[in-house]
């Protein structure tokens, strides 16, 4: 089924795009990540111009997170207070990210910056999650089977002034910690063209120490608003949001997200984290390989 994309200026196979949306939607419902880290590179690989891919992917992530947020709301899986703080940080972060993006683009190094960010972020997070998931799935074989340690937040978080109670997350910490986390994730969202869930989820778990049952819902809540801000920013500045492309992606991803969140309720959370860790590590390794190996295209063209 050929569909012509009016902003991307090319015709694509509509069914392929819907399937791509469904794949990322399932990931989104399953792990609470937006799936942008898969959509954007795959769209670019398919021939969609990078800016259009990033802009339209952020629109798609909005849709996937809406259905995810709804699904998690039904089981009280969203901490709105925590979400609100991270959203405030996130919107500020998108502005910072947009400035950084423009700077790196003007010096022609945006691709390398994005790739290095991917390798560093995904590599660090992936190995952290992998280690944690393995120790919780197969406790240390030292003979003494220890009870899994109760997760606490990072010592730096306690050093911050001002403390709020976040009941659903089971935390009494400074709002500055989630706010700063929001800023960082927002900036990365704009820079990397991703929802930021794959950074947010582990950060909420291991840095803030939020209780696991609200992490996915709250991170989706933050992603929802930050990607809305990103879509608007793209629509106003780059004018690269392709609504036809976004609609096709949405069609797949909103259904995928529902399926994903159904599976998530039945599966073991440790196993889910192990799988997510594996996916994240594979992508990081692929990107690392891509940095060191001569690329297929030595020359790239940008309009002036």
């Amino acid at each position: 089924m050929d569909v012509y994309l009016p902003i991307a200026n090319l015709s694509v196979d509509g069914l392929f795009i819907v399937a791509l949306g469904a794949l990322t939607g399932i990931l989104s419902g399953l792990f609470g990540v937006g799936g942008g880290f898969l959509t954007t590179p795959l769209l670019i690989f398919y021939g969609v111009p990078p800016t259009v891919a990033a802009a339209s992917a952020s629109t798609q992530v909005t849709g996937a997170s809406v259905s995810g947020v709804f699904a998690h709301t039904r089981r009280n899986g969203v901490d709105y207070k925590m979400g609100g703080v991270t959203v405030a940080g996130g919107v500020l972060g998108t502005g910072v990210g947009a400035l950084l993006f423009r700077f790196f683009e003007s010096v022609g190094q945006i691709d390398v910056v994005i790739n290095i960010l991917y390798v560093v972020m995904l590599g660090a997070i992936g190995s952290l999650m992998m280690r944690e998931a393995i120790t919780s799935l197969w406790p240390a074989s030292g003979g003494t089977v220890r009870k899994a340690m109760k997760r606490r937040h990072h010592p730096l978080v306690t050093a911050l002034p001002l403390r709020w109670r976040f009941y659903r997350s089971g935390l009494y910490i400074s709002p500055l910690a989630p706010f700063l986390l929001g800023v960082v994730v927002g900036a990365l969202t704009m820079l990397m063209g991703v929802g930021g869930g794959f950074i947010l989820v582990p950060a909420m778990l291991y840095i803030l120490g939020m209780s696991a049952n609200v992490v996915v819902g709250t991170s989706l809540f933050q992603i929802l608003f930050v990607t809305m801000a990103t879509t608007m920013m793209h629509a106003l500045t780059t004018q690269a949001v392709d609504i036809v492309l976004a609609a096709l992606l949405l069609l797949g991803s909103v259904s995928g997200a529902q399926i994903g969140s159904q599976i998530a309720q039945k599966a073991k959370p440790e196993l889910l984290r192990l799988i997510l860790a594996a996916i994240v590590l594979v992508i990081a390794l692929r990107m690392l390989y891509g940095l060191g190996v001569q690329p297929d295209e030595i020359y790239t063209v940008v309009p002036l």
């Binding site: 009016p6 090319l10 691709d111 879509t231 608007m232 629509a235 949001v241 030595i298 020359y299 002036l304």
Partner: protein
């Protein structure tokens, strides 16, 4: 007087003989880009007439060149720096055609020399990209070659040797395909008649490639009402997400 008239007649006759008339046409003077557009094929055809009526001098070769609207571009070159492949040097070109196809009835290097080919841009090697800035010619050639190679693999630049067929020494035709990712704008189709290594006649026709209907509406909407367009995109995504949530809640 009689002699002068005779000379004049000879002049007319001679010029008439060395100046064949080229009557080119394109199968369509407008390409509409709309939903389901997967590229199209343009048929460039026409007749070459010798005013004297004889086909004695009919050993012409025909070259057609189809060019898309030119854009200023920057070409970046990746290099391995500290183990990482990253953009290093770059070169700017003021007018790179977004599409360039040339078809000829015989191999171009057999019918014209490089100088003539360069003058009329007969071949992807001879596209005039108007490089700007001060770069040494060797480096410029490297960038140009890299750029042309990239566009050739995107099937936006191409050379079709033998792509022009001539029948009865009078009619010629060439088919050139436009991929779906072509840039919209005014395309020029130039036809050259070549004889003995010289271009002896040329004609230009224009083809308009433009978006129509819904595609044009979306493009204009995104450019002229970008705030509303962004809101619409956000609203669409929220609505579809919400709808899916409701539908699946029923199951």
């Amino acid at each position: 007087m009689k002699r002068a008239l005779f000379l004049l007649a000879c002049l007319f006759a001679l010029t008439a003989q060395s100046d064949p008339i080229l009557v080119p046409d394109v199968s369509q003077d407008e390409v509409q880009v709309r939903q389901g557009f997967t590229g199209t094929e343009l048929l460039l055809f026409g007749a070459i007439l010798d005013p004297s009526g004889s086909r004695a001098a009919a050993n012409y070769d025909i070259i057609v060149v189809l060019k898309g609207p030119a854009q200023p571009i920057r070409v970046r070159e990746k290099e391995q720096i500290g183990g990482i492949w990253m953009n290093a040097e770059s070169s700017d070109f003021r007018s790179a055609p977004s599409y360039f196809a040339v078809a000829s009835s015989s191999p171009i290097n057999e019918i014209v020399d490089d100088r003539t080919a360069a003058i009329y841009e007969l071949g992807t090697r001879f596209i005039q990209l108007s490089p700007s800035g001060t770069i040494d010619p060797e480096e410029q050639a490297r960038f140009t070659a890299g750029f042309v190679d990239l566009r050739e693999r995107q099937s936006l630049y191409k050379e079709q040797i033998g792509g022009v067929s001539i029948s009865e020494d009078v009619l010629y035709q060439a088919r050139l395909s436009l991929p779906s990712n072509v840039t919209t704008g005014t395309y020029t189709a130039e036809t050259f008649a070549v004889s003995n290594g010289r271009v002896i006649a040329s004609e230009v026709a224009k083809v308009e490639v433009r978006k129509v209907g819904f595609e044009r509406f979306v493009e204009l909407f995104s450019q002229q009402q970008s705030f509303l367009y962004g809101l619409l995109a956000v609203a669409l995504s929220i609505f579809m997400g919400w709808l899916a949530g409701r539908l699946f809640a029923l199951i």
